[in-house]
C-alpha cells in the first residue's frame, strides 16, 4: 500500500485573473502599440501554447520612451524629495504583495519556473527590493556620508529571462530611489510580469514617464543601448552581449554596470555536513532549472567523500519532481525556451564527446514543452568545455580535489567570478576559502540565498558594478 503512495496533482489555479490578448509598450504612463505595429508572441514553455502577443518595439519607440523619460526626469522626478519618491516605491512594493498570487502564476506560465519558486522566492524578493530601496530614497546622504548626492539622469536597463520580475525590481528600485528615470527592456521570452509591473506603476500613480517599458528582442535592446539620450546603462545577461554593449558605449560617457555569466565553484570538504551539503548542491544547480547566473555549476568534492556525496546526490535527485510548473509539488519546471533547451542539449552532447560520464534522473517528462532532466557529469577535466563554459541549465560538472589549495586553484581557474560556495564544519576553513576565491558572492554552508541588503555582482567576465545593499546605490548617483 505504502510503496506506491504518491502525490496527486496540485495545480495552482490560474482563473483568478485575466491576461489580455495583447500588450502594448508602456511609454509615458500609457500602453501604446509599437510604431511599426509589429507584435511577437510569448509562449508558455511548458506546453508551447501562446499566452499573449506583445508589441515589438523599434528604434522610434525607444526614442520616444527615452525622450519621455528625460522629460519626466527634468520636470518631475529629480525635483521630488526623497521622501516623496519613497512613498511611490512603498506603494509599488505593497501592490506587488497584493497581486503576488497573480504575479507568481504569470511568472511560472511565461517562464516555466515552478510555482513553488515564483511564489516563495521571486515575488516576495521583488517586493522586498522595493521596500528596501523605498527606505533609502530619503536617506541617501547617510549612504554616502560627507558627500552631496544627486541622481544621474535617464537609465536604460536590459534584463534577462531567468528571474523576470525580480530583475525588474533589482534594476528599477535603486534607479528610482536615487532619483533617476528608467526605460526598461525585458527579455523577449518573458515580458509578461514586466508588463504587469507597468500596470502596477499605473496603479501606484507613478508620474508619467518615470518608468517606461519597451518590449522586444535583441534589436530593441541594441536600439536602447545605442540611444544617445541615456546617462546610464545597466545590463544583466550573457557575457557575449555584455561585451558588445561595453564596446558600443566606449567613449560615450554613459555609465555602465554589467551583471553577466558565471561558472561558480561549489566546494564540499570532507568535514562538511554531507546531507545538508547535498541539499545545497540541489539548490545550487537545480534551482530555477539551472537558469541562474550564480548557479553552483561546478562541484568540487574532497576525494574522501566524493563517493558518498555522489551517491546521495543521485538519490536526492531522483526525488525531484519535474513537470507542470503550476503544480505546487513541482521542483523543476520547463526550460525557458526552445533555443535554450537546444543549447543545453548541445552541451550534454559535448560533455559526452569530451569523455565525461553523464548521469540523468529517471523521471518522466511531459511530451509537449521544453524539458531537461536534472543531470550531472563525472570524470570531467578542467579543460572540458562543460567545466569552462556557462551552460545555464540543470547540468552540473563534478570534480574532486585533495587539498584546499587544489580546490582554490580549480575554483579560480575560470574566466568568470560571480559566485562560489563552501561547505565545511570548520569556521577557519570557511574564511580561508572565501578569501581565496575571486568571486563577488560566496556562500558558506548554504547556496543561492538572496537579500536586498546584500550586494551582488561579479569579477572578471562576470561583469562589474553591484546590485543590492548600499553598494547597489552607487551606480545610480553622482557624488560631489
Amino acid at each position: 500500500m505504502g510503496a506506491d503512495w504518491g502525490y496527486a496533482p496540485a495545480p495552482e489555479s490560474a482563473d483568478h485573473f485575466k491576461l489580455k490578448d495583447h500588450y502594448g509598450l508602456f511609454i509615458g504612463g500609457k500602453f501604446v502599440p509599437a510604431v511599426s505595429g509589429k507584435r511577437f508572441k510569448t509562449i508558455n514553455p511548458a506546453n508551447e501554447k501562446v499566452i499573449a502577443e506583445v508589441a515589438d518595439g523599434g528604434e522610434k519607440d525607444v526614442d520616444k520612451a527615452v525622450k519621455t523619460a528625460r522629460a519626466a526626469y527634468d520636470k518631475v522626478w529629480r525635483k521630488l524629495s526623497g521622501r516623496e519618491r519613497g512613498k511611490y516605491l512603498y506603494r509599488i512594493a505593497r501592490i506587488i504583495q497584493e497581486r503576488s498570487r497573480e504575479l507568481a502564476v504569470v511568472e511560472s506560465m511565461d517562464g516555466g519556473k515552478p510555482i513553488r519558486e515564483s511564489r516563495d522566492v521571486d515575488i516576495p524578493l521583488a517586493a522586498a527590493h522595493f521596500f528596501y530601496h523605498a527606505g533609502w530614497a530619503d536617506k541617501l546622504g547617510y549612504a554616502f556620508p560627507g558627500k552631496s548626492v544627486s541622481p544621474i539622469g535617464v537609465a536604460g536597463q536590459i534584463i534577462p529571462w531567468n528571474f523576470p520580475l525580480l530583475m525588474v525590481a533589482w534594476k528599477v528600485a535603486p534607479a528610482l530611489a536615487c532619483g533617476n528615470t528608467v526605460v526598461l527592456k525585458p527579455a523577449e521570452t518573458t515580458p509578461l510580469t514586466a508588463l504587469l509591473f507597468a500596470e502596477i506603476c499605473q496603479e501606484a500613480g507613478l508620474p508619467e514617464g518615470v518608468f517606461s517599458l519597451v518590449t522586444g528582442a535583441g534589436a530593441t535592446g541594441a536600439a536602447l543601448v545605442n540611444h544617445p539620450g541615456l546617462n546610464k546603462v545597466a545590463f544583466t545577461g550573457s557575457t557575449e552581449v555584455g561585451k558588445l554593449i561595453q564596446k558600443s558605449l566606449a567613449g560615450r560617457g554613459t555609465k555602465l554596470t554589467l551583471e553577466l555569466g558565471g561558472k561558480a565553484a561549489h566546494i564540499i570538504f570532507e568535514d562538511a555536513t554531507i546531507d545538508q551539503a547535498v541539499e545545497g548542491i540541489i539548490n545550487g544547480i537545480y534551482f530555477n532549472q539551472g537558469h541562474v547566473c550564480c548557479a553552483g555549476s561546478r562541484l568540487l568534492v574532497q576525494e574522501s567523500v566524493e563517493e558518498e556525496v555522489v551517491t546521495k546526490l543521485k538519490a536526492r535527485m531522483e526525488t525531484l519532481m519535474v513537470g507542470d510548473p503550476l503544480d505546487k509539488n513541482t521542483d523543476i519546471g520547463a526550460i525557458n525556451s526552445k533555443a535554450q533547451c537546444d543549447r543545453i542539449r548541445d552541451y550534454l552532447k559535448i560533455g559526452e564527446e569530451e569523455g565525461a560520464e553523464l548521469f540523468q534522473t529517471q523521471c518522466s517528462v511531459p511530451e509537449k514543452g521544453y524539458w531537461i532532466r536534472p543531470s550531472f557529469f563525472t570524470k570531467v577535466a578542467q579543460s572540458h568545455r562543460i567545466v569552462q563554459e556557462e551552460i545555464f541549465g540543470p547540468v552540473l560538472a563534478i570534480q574532486s580535489f585533495r587539498t584546499l589549495n587544489e580546490a582554490l586553484e580549480k575554483a579560480n581557474n575560470t574566466p568568470y567570478g560571480l559566485s562560489g560556495g563552501v561547505w565545511t564544519d570548520k569556521g577557519a576553513k570557511i574564511f580561508k576559502v572565501t578569501r581565496g576565491i575571486r568571486a563577488g558572492v560566496i556562500w558558506a554552508n548554504t547556496f543561492n540565498k538572496f537579500d536586498p541588503t546584500s550586494p551582488f555582482g561579479g569579477y572578471k567576465e562576470s561583469g562589474y558594478g553591484r546590485e543590492g545593499g548600499r553598494h547597489g546605490l552607487r551606480p545610480y548617483v553622482e557624488l560631489s
Binding site: 505504502g2 503512495w5 545538508q276
Partner: protein, 305 residues
C-alpha cells in the same frame, strides 16, 4: 559485550555533523508538498495503519486498555474501509490485558520498559523489566536510553545497555527511545541514533511523550538521515518511530512525505515506520469523514478512548 564496548568507544560528537539551519530549511521545503485528493485519503489510511495507539498513564486500568484495543481493531463505526492500527503501546503490567483483547488480530502489543520514562534505574532492574514485559507477551519493547550516561559522554555504556536489553528481548522487536527533547542538539540526536542502531535497535524512536519538545520535524529528519546512512553502510533497514505531540492529520502526512523522500517508499509500511500517538487517529478520522461526506463533523462523533 566487550566487542560492543570497543565498537562504541569510537563514538564521539559529532559523529556525522548536522547543520541545524540546513535541517530547518529542508524541513520547511518538505512541508510545502501539497497532499490533496486521493493521495490525501490514501496517505491518511496509510498513517492509520502505522499508528502505535498508546496509553501510558498512571491511571490506566484494564478497562481503559481493553477500550483502547477495541479502538485499535475498529477505528470508526460505519466504515469498513479503514485499516487496523499497527500496535497498541502500554506499560508492562497491561501487556497481558492487551494481548487478550487483541487475540486473533494482527495488531502487535508494544510495552515500554527499562524504567520508562526516565531510565533512572540500574541495568539489572531494566533487564528484569524487559524480561517481565516479554514474558507477559509483548511483541515489541520500547526502551529508553540512559540520558545521564549519554550526556556525560559515556557512550560505550549507553551502547552496551542497548545491546543487553536487545538480548533480554529475545524475539521481541526493540525500539530505542532517544528522548530527543533531553538531548539538546541535533548533533547529539544524530549520535544517539548511530549508537542505537550499531547496538542492535530494530527501530529508533524520538520520545517518550512525557517530555517536550518531542517528535519535531527537525529531529525526525536527522534520525531518518541516520537510518539512511546506516542502510547504505550495512544493508540493514532500521525502522523509525516518531512519538509525542503528533496530534493532527497534517503532521502525519508530513511525516509520510519525509519518509518517502528521505528513505524511499520501501520504508512506507508499518514494519519500518510507526507513529506513536493517542489523539492522532481521531483527527485523521475527522479528515477522512470530511473527504467522504464533504463536511466536518464535531468531535463528539468520534469515540474518545
Amino acid at each position: 559485550m566487550s566487542t560492543i564496548s570497543t565498537l562504541s568507544s569510537r563514538f564521539n560528537i559529532p559523529s556525522h555533523p548536522v547543520d541545524e539551519v540546513g535541517i530547518k530549511e529542508r524541513v520547511a521545503r518538505l512541508a510545502t508538498r501539497s497532499i490533496k485528493k486521493f493521495s490525501k485519503v490514501e496517505g491518511l489510511k496509510l498513517a492509520l495503519s502505522m499508528v502505535d495507539l498508546t496509553t501510558l498513564e498512571g491511571a490506566d486500568t484494564p478497562g481503559r486498555v481493553r477500550q483502547l484495543c477495541t479502538k485499535a481493531i475498529h477505528l470508526h463505526s460505519g466504515r469498513s474501509d479503514l485499516p487496523m492500527v499497527a500496535a497498541v503501546c502500554v506499560y508492562p503490567t497491561m501487556v497481558r490485558v492487551a494481548r487478550e483483547a487483541l487475540k486473533g488480530t494482527p495488531i502487535k502489543v508494544a510495552a515500554v520498559a527499562t524504567a520508562f520514562p526516565s531510565g533512572m534505574n540500574p541495568l539489572a532492574v531494566k533487564l528484569e523489566d524487559t524480561r517481565y514485559a516479554v514474558g507477559e507477551g509483548a511483541h515489541e519493547i520500547d526502551m529508553v536510553i540512559s540520558r545521564g550516561d549519554f550526556l556525560r559522554g559515556d557512550y560505550a555504556r549507553v551502547a552496551d545497555e542497548i545491546a543487553e536489553v536487545k538480548k533480554a528481548c529475545g524475539k521481541a522487536h526493540l525500539k530505542v527511545i532517544l528522548e530527543t527533547g533531553e538531548l539538546g542538539t541535533l548533533d547529539r540526536v544524530r549520535l544517539a541514533s548511530d549508537i542505537a542502531m550499531e547496538a542492535g535497535a530494530d527501530f529508533i524512536k524520538t520520545s517518550t511523550g512525557k517530555i517536550q519538545p518531542a517528535a519535531t520535524p527537525e529531529v525526525v529528519l536527522v534520525m531518518l538521515q541516520a537510518i539512511s546512512d546506516f542502510f547504505r553502510k550495512t544493508g540493514k533497514k532500521i525502522g523509525m518511530k516518531p512519538a509525542g505531540g503528533i496530534a493532527n492529520a497534517k503532521a502525519a502526512l508530513n511525516l509520510l512525505v519525509m519518509v518517502r523522500e528521505v528513505l524511499g517508499p520501501a520504508w512506507l509500511n508499518p514494519d519500518l515506520f510507526r507513529i506513536g500517538a493517542s489523539k492522532l487517529p481521531n483527527d485523521i478520522l475527522m479528515q477522512l469523514e470530511k473527504e467522504r461526506t464533504g463536511v466536518y463533523q464535531g468531535g463528539d462523533y468520534f469515540s474518545n478512548d
